[in-house]
Symmetry: C2
Subunit: 201 residues, 2 copies
């Protein structure tokens, strides 16, 4: 397509790099921005720049954070005897939304996926293992999506956590098999945390 | 929803102001940007900022342009006896893609819509009328979407253009009534320009 301006072409190219946004949608979004006040676009651009340059990750649980230690890890009211292991920040948000869980988290930053070339060393697994000794942790919940990759990761983590005197559990399979954890409704997700099942060891 | 970081919350709020993007999609896009290299996000932010601060509009036809006069108006090969009136830049792009039209354009910047409070004075209608005298224009094509608002705008323009010795035509109604011009396929849109129908005056 011949865009009337290099600026438009540039913006469309950059916007269409986002997942699920093609050239036509990108053009619609870009022209929409041109119709709005200048501040709207500048605020959007500024928020993305700040996001990318200033974001921090909690040094304990690797969740996204404004400080060195995230609000959940720093909260004295949270139950320090239990760690919930999740794939990414969206899963933390989804579980927090259920209000059924008061423990800590550990964000892996992905799951083991040989097809996409993601191995155990690409994830925050070592730092999870290092959190266990000298801590009050009595239980680790593996809250991973019930997919092939999630099961592989859970299996790997179970083996790694076995040397410690821990209860290892997984959230109940109330979630449809093959589904994505973040899209589960709050009641199903909340219940699946309440009725978590201990791994046979 | 309680976001783990103010930066995330800010970015999600700004992104979800875009049309058709809700909070959940915005969060998905924002977390996607965090996973990519920093340059990807900075390039996106920069392209949007440049777009909004440096964009120009052609002083003749009001199309988006890199210069004071757009590439189409400046092109000596275009037929200066004919002006195609469209709602916005996307319509220019759609018509250019058909390769069936070699004349000039005039971008109204919207259509008359009493419901949305858009009247004739909010559009580039006066400048269209000013283009006609002292020019070679023999025909004006009204290429507006065949909706209530499009028809109202076409009717208004026909009245305004009547004093001039012009052929006034409209693109053939090969496009489904109620449809949006920009989504028509190229063959239908191209043919509807070829078989344009003169208004009875």
């Amino acid at each position: 397509m011949n865009y009337p301006s290099k600026l438009i072409e540039n913006a469309v190219n950059e916007v269409s790099k986002l997942p699920g946004i093609g050239k036509k949608t990108a053009l619609r979004l870009v022209l929409h921005l041109l119709k709005r006040e200048e501040e709207t676009t500048l605020a959007l651009a500024e928020s993305l720049t700040q996001l990318r340059t200033q974001i921090k990750y909690c040094r304990n649980c690797h969740n996204i954070s404004d400080a060195d230690v995230c609000a959940i890890c720093a909260n004295a009211m949270r139950d320090r005897s239990i760690i919930c292991v999740v794939e990414d920040t969206r899963d933390v948000l989804a579980i927090e939304n259920t209000s059924q869980y008061k423990g800590l988290y550990h964000v892996l930053g992905g799951i083991i996926s040989p097809i996409e070339g993601v191995g155990p060393n690409d994830l925050h697994i070592d730092s999870l293992i290092r959190r266990i000794p000298d801590s009050d942790v009595k239980e680790v919940i593996l809250a991973l999506s019930p997919t092939m990759e999630g099961d592989t990761t859970a299996f790997y983590l179970t083996k790694k956590l076995k040397p410690f005197d821990l209860k290892i559990s997984t959230i109940a399979r109330g979630i449809p098999i093959g589904g994505e954890l973040e899209y589960a409704d709050e009641i199903t997700l909340g219940r699946s945390i309440m009725t978590r099942v201990a791994y046979e060891s």
